[in-house]
């Protein structure tokens, strides 16, 4: 039987990051991936011959620079086609708003009444987010008997808070648990600009702008500076660089290798067994899968009933779908020049509209007007398309996993039609350009990436499932109760989005435990 120091389950960005860091630390590492394509939710693919599109996630906006440095991704081929994409929030009346580096202006050039208020709000939120930023690469603290590192972390948080000054510190503590609707609309009028900010707060989550706690997710998103970047060669190239970084340090990656079970003996992992029956041994197993899937693979019997109950109740109702298009030519958007089309287009006319769209999903219905985040990555990166066409990648915020009547072909067509109708309001004739189209529902996302509920974040990012409560109370420090078993994906702190921090933190912890173990053996 093959033996490794560590096995990483899942070749998503977190799994690959963890593998790269473990390999960098001198461990022999195997990554097993059930799909043929690497990347998980960050994978790229060919939507039609010659058209390369991001399958699910299509942007890097929170990718942690420290992880990037430690893995030296640039040396492994990571480059950016465009950094700090501008956001264009479309208005039905054609008065589109451009948001760039924390400033907003109207696309038409005339002045935006809320420009100053928005800039001030953005600056303030950015400042608050800075307090949280330091937490991303830290293991959530033990609250009861903290060690010096936990205490130092908590003390630093307190210090950062005080450094804000009394007025800002108070405001931070108020905003922290508030909701995006109030935080945004207290400062600026409702409309495409407010809608854009609110969409950032709820993207990927089963929550509406009025849901208390949605302000925190907004801060979370801003914690990494809020810049959005397009990797050169698409998400596939980003994943390629991650894989290359791991492999160059000796990590092995097996594709089409679905894990059937995590093997446990005497309360410690000893390896894994693949669906084809092949077993591999390793004293460390890091799972980048969500908590529920990891529990299932490991076996309920190795967990206390309370832990099982908590994991069962992790909220992971996916609400985000994807529509990918291969286009024969660049679509024409009314009143928008090509330079702006290369950025991030948002169809989120107002906070109110976003809330209304969310309301439908609560009851398993498809909203009439979901919010859209649209990207045409081939504009900035022509290498994505052989020839003259383009690819368009559309994130659809709110399409419920539990759709009433189920996700049958009719429902899929309805989703596609809804999305295309919304887009054609601004880009008439878009339909005629379509060479190929893919509709990926939360159910598809679950099927392909394994994420329970098709949830982008492997579990709702809400206060009750964050930090010391992620994925569940009592299991927040990456290590699961079975010795040598770790969560290293979005299910663990700091959660979803393509950050790489969970992989980083888990790998670091696993290596520390390994060192202790070796010491004990010696």
């Amino acid at each position: 039987m093959t033996r490794y120091d560590a096995i990483v389950i899942g070749a998503g960005h977190n799994g690959l990051a963890a593998a790269g860091l473990l390999a960098r630390g001198g461990r022999t590492v195997l990554v097993v991936e059930k799909n043929d394509v690497l990347g998980g939710a960050a994978a790229g693919y060919e939507i039609a011959p010659g058209f390369r599109a991001p399958r699910f996630a299509h942007l890097l906006h929170a990718w942690h620079p420290q992880v990037e440095r430690q893995l030296d991704l640039a040396a492994h081929g990571l480059a950016f086609a465009r950094r700090d994409l501008a956001t264009l929030s479309l208005a039905d009346d054609g008065n589109h708003t451009i948001i760039e580096r924390g400033e907003a202006r109207l696309a038409a050039g005339n002045s935006l009444p809320d420009a100053a208020a928005f800039a001030a709000l953005h600056r303030r939120l950015q400042r608050f987010a800075g307090v949280l930023a330091g937490k991303l690469l830290q293991v959530p603290p033990r609250l009861e008997s903290p060690d010096w590192r936990d205490l130092a972390g908590l003390a630093k948080l307190g210090l950062d808070l005080r450094r804000l000054g009394a007025a800002d510190a108070r405001e931070f503590l108020r905003v922290l648990l508030s909701n995006a609707h109030d935080v945004v609309l207290d400062e600026i009028a409702d409309g495409p600009l407010a809608g854009a900010l609110a969409l950032d707060a709820v993207m990927g989550g089963h929550s509406g702008p009025r849901s208390p706690g949605s302000a925190l997710t907004l801060l979370y998103r801003l914690a990494q500076g809020g810049g959005r970047h397009l990797p050169k060669g698409g998400m596939a190239a980003f994943v390629g660089a991650l894989a290359e970084a791991a492999q160059s340090r000796g990590a092995e990656i097996r594709r089409n290798a679905a894990v059937e079970a995590v093997l446990v003996e005497n309360d410690r992992v000893i390896g894994i067994r693949l669906a084809d029956g092949e077993a591999m041994k390793a004293p460390l197993v890091l799972s980048s899968l969500d908590a529920q899937t990891t529990l299932r693979l490991t076996g309920v019997e190795h967990f206390d009933a309370e832990a099982v109950r908590r994991i069962r109740h992790v909220r992971c109702k996916g609400v985000t779908a994807k529509v990918n298009l291969a286009l024969s030519a660049l679509p024409r958007f009314d009143g928008i020049g090509e330079d702006l089309l290369g950025g991030r287009l948002l169809l989120t006319p107002s906070v109110q509209a976003l809330e209304t769209a969310f309301d439908a999903t609560k009851y398993g219905e498809l909203p009439a007007c979901p919010a859209l985040e649209v990207l045409i990555p081939s504009l900035a990166d022509p290498s994505l398309v052989d020839g003259s066409g383009h690819v368009m990648s559309i994130v659809v915020q709110y399409a419920p996993y539990h759709l009433k009547g189920g996700w049958n072909d009719a429902a899929r067509s309805r989703l596609a039609a809804t999305v295309l109708d919304l887009l054609e309001r601004h880009a008439p004739g878009l339909r005629d350009l379509i060479v190929a189209q893919d509709v990926l529902t939360p159910l598809d996302i679950e099927r392909e990436t394994g994420a329970s509920g098709g949830h982008w974040h492997h579990g709702e990012l809400s206060v009750d499932q964050m930090l010391t409560l992620r994925p569940v109370n009592g299991l927040a420090r990456y290590a699961l109760p079975v010795g040598g078993l770790y969560l290293c994906g979005a299910a663990a702190h700091p959660g979803g989005d393509i950050i790489g921090a969970a992989g980083h933190n888990a790998a670091r912890l696993a290596m520390k435990d390994w060192a202790l173990l070796e010491e004990r053996v010696a």
């Binding site: 108070r170 009851y363 109370n473 009592g474």
Partner: protein, 544 residues
């Protein structure tokens, strides 16, 4: 307006609600010359008993009692002044299939009742009750304490923060986590973790939304449930009761205690302006032109009404005014008070069903409740409203003539302003009432015919009569960005304001709404502190 000097006091309390009266009592008991001024001809604010139909007494705002702090009841000796609270023992939710789920305070009966739907739920109810009880235990000592300012370096704030930190730490790691979860979860998701039966979840979920602009799936509503559970009647945590003679019994007892302590009440003219000069308050001018002087003014009005309507804006820092404007006071509740010619029949209820003497509901699922909330968000009253309906005359014979009954129906949700632009004081009010009556009549066919008189109170009506902004019963949303040290405004959670001598004592302040009297008692404690009173004379003063 030419003001006519009408007296000089040590302390003037604006508003004779339960919190204003409580604060006044504590101060008068310490020998301060205390005056309470009240806009209405009657006193009590939202804790009143009023005869609006001959022979019937309506608790036409708040209608049941549980949260009233026992410390206050003891300190002010309210039972001697006539207060009596009688717990009710059960309640029920009617379902459209002609059935019901009953809640019995008899533990064995409740187990059997829940088991009728699910035996697992019956067991899990115990786990649920324990989880809520643990949270009650945690929060109770905080109610009668002043929240610290986390950004301050004053020894007092630091000491209080340390106290909180230690208390939190004492919970143990897992309970700390559970506490954070509980405080930030939605009541719907919290209940989903315990129960599998929809009507049982719906029955318990009501307490998570009463009075709020939140839905059962809005994070933070589990806390709202706690807010309704943390009270007690004679030591039974979570019990609710009727005040004999209606909720006015609470404020009448307080008024009696106040008068006995030498305090004075002037009803019939509201405050036009709270006077302030050079950052200090000097008294108030009433709408009738009376000028009343005092170095200390305590406002029982909500924070927005106090500072935006009755204080010269020039005396307030801009940041403060902005924060006050931002404070969310969203009207979401309506009320029907009904005089009945007899006891309405509920065909679903078996003969002698004790739950008819308790709180009755007809919302059968969390989805129904959530949709009711969505209506409100869209500026409509709920097509299928949640209601908390009681017939206090089952227990309290003083509220109506023998054989006749009084019914109080608390309705969730009704917006303060209708999206249609229609005013509330027209056909809309009757249409709202009809929605509610029709829903009740689905479960009580003879109910409609028994109605002798009804009073319909929309958020607009509540605002106009009681003075609660937008008719919000808590004087401000109970969301975590407006709780504890954030209530009402960060940096001003200690009942003080930028104007020296001007204090808040209403539910806009910590620990928030309900007929609790804790804000009033806490504010009085802070006033006494500022006035240099050293020794603690009462338990509320000792509390922090």
């Amino acid at each position: 307006m030419s003001a006519r000097n009408a007296g000089r006091y040590d302390v003037i309390v604006v508003g004779a609600g339960h919190n204003g009266l409580t604060a006044a009592c504590y101060l008068a008991k310490r020998g301060l010359k205390t005056l309470v001024v009240e806009r209405n001809d009657w006193i009590g604010g939202a804790a009143v008993s009023r005869e609006l139909y001959e022979g019937w007494t309506y608790s036409n705002c708040s209608y049941v009692c549980s949260l009233l702090r026992p410390e206050v009841v003891r300190d002010l000796d309210l039972p001697r002044h006539g207060l009596q609270v009688i717990p009710y023992e059960s309640g029920a939710t009617f379902t459209d299939d002609g059935g019901y789920f009953a809640y019995y305070s008899d533990h064995d009966a409740l187990r059997r009742e829940i088991s009728r739907f699910s035996r697992r739920d019956a067991d899990n109810y115990e786990r649920y009750a324990r989880a809520v009880m643990r949270q009650c235990r945690f929060i109770k000592p905080l109610l009668m304490r002043t929240a610290p300012d986390p950004a301050s370096n004053r020894p007092r704030d630091l000491a209080e923060l340390l106290y909180l930190g230690r208390r939190f730490h004492d919970l143990g790691e897992r309970e700390m986590g559970e506490t954070i979860r509980f405080w930030t979860m939605s009541i719907g998701e919290f209940l989903d973790e315990y129960f599998e039966t929809e009507v049982i979840k719906a029955h318990f979920a009501g307490s998570g939304i009463i009075g709020t602009g939140l839905g059962v799936y809005s994070p933070g509503t589990a806390y709202v449930l706690l807010h309704h559970y943390m009270g007690e009647v004679d030591g039974t945590i979570g019990a609710w009761g009727f005040t004999r003679g209606g909720m006015g019994g609470v404020t009448q007892a307080m008024a009696s205690a106040l008068t006995e302590a030498g305090g004075e009440i002037r009803a019939g003219s509201g405050v036009a302006e709270i006077l302030a000069k050079n950052g200090k308050t000097t008294g108030v001018v009433l709408e009738n032109g009376d000028l009343l002087e005092a170095p200390t003014v305590i406002s029982n009005m909500d924070v927005r009404r106090t500072f935006l309507n009755h204080v010269d804006q020039k005396e307030l820092p801009d940041d403060f005014t902005k924060a006050v404007k931002r404070f969310k006071i969203r009207g979401s509740s309506a009320k029907l008070n009904i005089a009945l010619d007899g006891f309405p029949s509920f065909p679903a209820a078996p003969a002698g069903a004790p739950f008819l003497k308790g709180d009755l509901h007809a919302s059968q699922s969390l989805e129904e409740l959530e949709r009711a909330y969505d209506d409100w968000k869209a500026g409509r009253w709920s097509a299928e409203p949640y209601f908390d309906m009681l017939i206090p005359t089952c227990i309290d014979p003083t509220m109506a003539p023998p054989g006749k009954h009084m019914m109080t129906v608390f309705v969730q949700y009704a917006p303060y302003a209708l999206a249609s632009g229609e005013p509330w004081d027209g056909p809309a009010r009757d249409a709202l009432a009809e929605t509610v009556i029709a829903k009740i009549a689905r479960h009580s066919p003879d109910f409609r015919d028994l109605i002798l008189h009804k009073e319909v109170r929309t958020p607009w009506d509540i605002e106009h009569e009681v003075g609660l902004t937008e008719g919000n019963i808590f004087q401000g949303e109970l969301t975590f960005d407006q709780m504890f040290f954030n209530r009402p405004v960060p940096g001003y959670a200690d009942y003080r304001s930028p104007i020296k001598g001007l204090y808040l004592c209403g539910s806009s302040s910590h620990p928030g709404g309900g007929v609790m009297a804790a804000p009033g008692a806490n504010a009085a404690r802070e006033v006494l502190r500022d006035l240099g009173f050293k020794s603690a004379a009462t338990s509320a003063e000792r509390a922090a």
